[in-house]
């Protein structure tokens, strides 16, 4: 096996970013999980059974129900953006799987490409909304634009490869598959491809330190994940369980 500089640099970046993402993400979640909820604070009306709570959470995670109540324009942009992102990620599974699962070929590939085209448009829509309403403009800052810019660049470099400067796909797959099988090889020396994955690694490493933690964090939101049954079942504050008086 030939060891090249490109291989060393990009494998190190991949594993580094992957580790930061996984460890960082789990560390944040564990912080959320460990912090106790001293009181019952579901936003009511709230479900009165645990099954109801699961449906409420799924409604927010899958359908963005609260946001739908809040702002239809943002909801539309948010739904399109997130589902396109998800479809694009699913489409990319073919670079990591061998053999590629049947469901990930054919239609899924086409759907993923369409989603990839819509994704940067959705980003621009969200950016426009952020900058044209004086209220969101007031609260937006570098970090908000950075996240949008990063995802936009990832999408655009991806589309460039799909439609204009296609790298040699066998080499792409070889590199990606090598990474997941812990048998790294050199990436194709294609500048657009290398830029694309560098941006992805940046996003992964940035994730746990940023507002992107809303993915995952939402499951720990007490106003959404608590059951409305304080009279029926006594909720105990773990750091102050008993009356001293």
């Amino acid at each position: 096996m030939e060891i090249s500089l490109l291989m060393v640099i990009f494998s190190a970046m991949a594993y580094g970013a992957g580790a930061v993402f996984v460890v960082g993400f789990l560390a944040r979640l564990s912080k959320y999980a460990k912090a106790p909820s001293p009181l019952k604070i579901p936003t009511t009306p709230a479900p009165i059974t645990n099954v109801g709570v699961v449906f409420r959470l799924l409604g927010d995670v899958i359908l963005f129900k609260s946001l739908f109540k809040g702002n239809k324009w943002t909801w539309t942009g948010g739904i399109v953006f997130h589902y396109c992102f998800l479809l694009v990620v699913i489409r990319h599974l073919r670079y990591f799987l061998y053999p590629v699962a049947g469901w990930d070929m054919g239609v899924m590939q086409n759907v993923g490409v369409y989603a990839g085209i819509v994704l940067p448009i959705a980003v621009i829509y969200l950016l426009m909304r952020r900058t044209t309403v004086d209220r969101t403009m007031f609260v937006s800052s570098l970090a908000d634009y950075f996240a949008l810019a990063l995802i936009f660049s990832i999408a655009v470099t991806g589309l460039l490869m799909k439609f204009y400067v296609r790298p040699f796909m066998v080499d792409v797959k070889g590199f990606m598959y090598g990474l997941v099988t812990l048998n790294p090889s050199a990436p194709p020396a294609d500048p657009v491809f290398l830029l694309h994955i560098t941006l992805v690694f940046t996003l992964m490493a940035y994730f746990p330190f940023s507002k992107l933690m809303h993915a995952g964090g939402v499951f720990f939101s007490p106003t959404r994940n608590q059951c409305d049954n304080p009279r029926e079942k006594r909720h105990v504050n773990p750091w102050s369980p008993n009356l001293s008086a």
Binding site: P45, I48, D60, L67, F138, F209, H214, G217, D228
Partner: protein, 500 residues
């Protein structure tokens, strides 16, 4: 200091989303707490010299104790869904009153001192030093929030600004930068037993007066028992019901309901306050110390049931927090919910035909109902989600012939705060209270114009005090404000059959 002229928003019947006006209410500042009140609550008497370190320490401590705070500090994406939802933003146009911007006051300090990214990248990731200026902004804007939770309904992650405001106020208290109004009142509860500072004999004389008043006007003997051992029901209500108008009208309504139900009940001179301003400053121990008087009242008087009067934040405390703070209620009869809201109790009687109500007694009124924020979004009534919306309305409809709801975007879970909740019901904040009441006043005007509404029915002592004061600024009569049990009290036919 020269008083700035208060500009009352114009009533059009519509709620428009205004453009931002930076610093619009930056000058509206609540009075600072007195040393004696702060010390009585266990806080430093004045701003401590090392406030910066102490504030960050307290914040770190709260992040470990409250999952809500930890999660809410991290996961906001600034989508903007909350930006047009707060009554204080809509009324004041000050962008710091947008929930996301209010929370950002705390978040920027959190990032700077307590996150890796903030320590390394500083301003690039919106991390900022805690300066005296920021501290003052905390004080100002955490006292322009009523902890009403309206923003949390629309947030895709359920971020609840009430939790953030409570944390902000708790940090401020811990460094000796408390608010006069709330600390003074809690101190009164500690020493006298209730928010109004009414000792037992003063309450007793009000009760005697009410008894005589009902006797004179209706000829009926309606009792207002106090400190009776072994009564079926211990009734706990905000102390404003013993003193303020129109609150006292509802107190007469409760007494009449109990009389018609033929159930023995009692007030307690010790547990003479349902309200719990500990909630407004967030501090768990203060909350529990205030609530503990209720537990002591139960242990002393040995009732079978615990029933709660008309009050919004108090019902949230009672329904959602009492069991944690002072439970379990082992000595009460497990057949009944503990605590039970007076509206749950009254509607049950109405449904069973135990109350005779004459709707024509309220024919002079066309009634609408303002859902109190804490009842709507922080509690429940009955055994189904949303019972807190249906039960009071069912009672009202049983007591009058003309009822109409306000704009659906301003009621139920989307209700606006009256503008005076959460510890800001104090004279020096009258300007923000008027501005915060604007959305409710617009919706009220709309039903006045379309349906001739002339009675704003309430189930909260703070709402009652706030609207009584605010309505005249908007050109309406303060007499239009009243309690749900005021309507019940007027409609109830006292000479009907007693007992159930």
């Amino acid at each position: 200091m020269a008083k700035a002229k208060i500009v009352v928003p114009e009533l059009t019947g519509k709620i428009e989303i205004p453009g931002i006006k930076e610093g619009a209410t930056s000058g509206l500042k609540s009075h600072i707490a007195k040393e004696k009140d702060m010390v009585a609550l266990g806080f430093p008497g004045e701003l401590v010299p090392d406030w910066k370190e102490k504030a960050v320490e307290r914040m770190a401590d709260l992040l470990k104790k409250y999952r809500s705070l930890q999660v809410f500090m991290d996961i906001c994406v600034k989508c903007g869904a909350c930006t047009d939802k707060c009554q204080f933003y809509l009324g004041s146009r000050d962008p710091r009153n947008m929930p996301v911007a209010r929370a950002e006051l705390l978040r920027k300090v959190y990032r700077r001192y307590l996150t890796l990214g903030g320590k390394v990248f500083g301003p690039l990731v919106d991390a900022e030093e805690l300066t005296k200026e920021t501290l003052d902004e905390w004080y100002t804007y955490f006292h322009q929030c009523s902890e009403c939770r309206r923003c949390s309904v629309f947030c895709p992650y359920g971020i609840d600004t009430a939790e953030i405001t409570m944390a902000g106020r708790e940090i401020l208290d811990s460094i000796g930068y408390g608010q006069k109004y709330v600390t003074e009142i809690i101190h009164k509860v500690y020493t006298v037993g209730n928010n109004l500072g009414m000792p037992g004999p003063a309450i007793q004389s009000t009760l005697d007066f009410l008894k005589e008043d009902i006797k004179e006007t209706s000829g009926a003997d309606v009792e207002f028992p106090m400190d009776v051992q072994g009564a079926d029901i211990l009734f706990v209500t905000p102390s404003a019901d013993f003193f303020a108008s129109p609150h006292v009208e509802s107190l007469m309504g409760y007494a009449k309901v109990f009389k018609q139900a033929g159930i023995s009940w009692t007030l307690s001179s010790h547990a003479s306050e349902a309200g719990n301003f500990g909630m407004f400053i967030g501090n768990f121990d203060v909350k529990r110390k205030v609530a503990n008087r209720i537990r002591e009242g139960i242990l002393d008087l040995k009732p079978k049931r615990l029933i709660h009067g008309e009050c919004g934040h108090a019902w949230r405390i009672a329904y959602s927090f009492w069991n944690t703070l002072i439970g379990p209620f082992d000595t009460l009869d497990p057949k009944y919910p503990a605590p039970q809201h007076i509206c749950e109790f009254t509607l049950d009687l109405i449904k069973r035909g135990a109350l005779k109500l004459d709707k024509t007694a309220n024919d002079e009124f066309t009634v609408t109902f303002h859902d109190s924020c804490n009842v709507a979004r922080g509690s429940r009534m009955g055994d189904r989600p949303g019972g807190q919306f249906e039960i009071p309305r069912e009672i009202i409809k049983a007591t009058c012939n003309k009822y109409v709801d306000m704009n659906p975007d301003t009621i139920r879970e989307k209700t606006f705060c009256c503008g005076g909740g959460g510890g800001i019901l104090t004279d020096e904040l009258i300007d923000i209270r008027i501005k915060g009441a604007m959305p409710r006043m617009q919706a009220y005007k709309a039903v006045k114009d379309s349906n001739g509404v002339n009675f704003l029915a309430l189930i909260c002592a703070i709402c009652k005090a706030q609207f009584t004061k605010i309505l005249p600024y908007y050109g309406y009569d303060m007499e239009e404000v009243g309690g749900v049990h005021q309507l019940v009290g007027r409609a109830i036919v006292l000479k009907g059959k007693e007992g159930i």
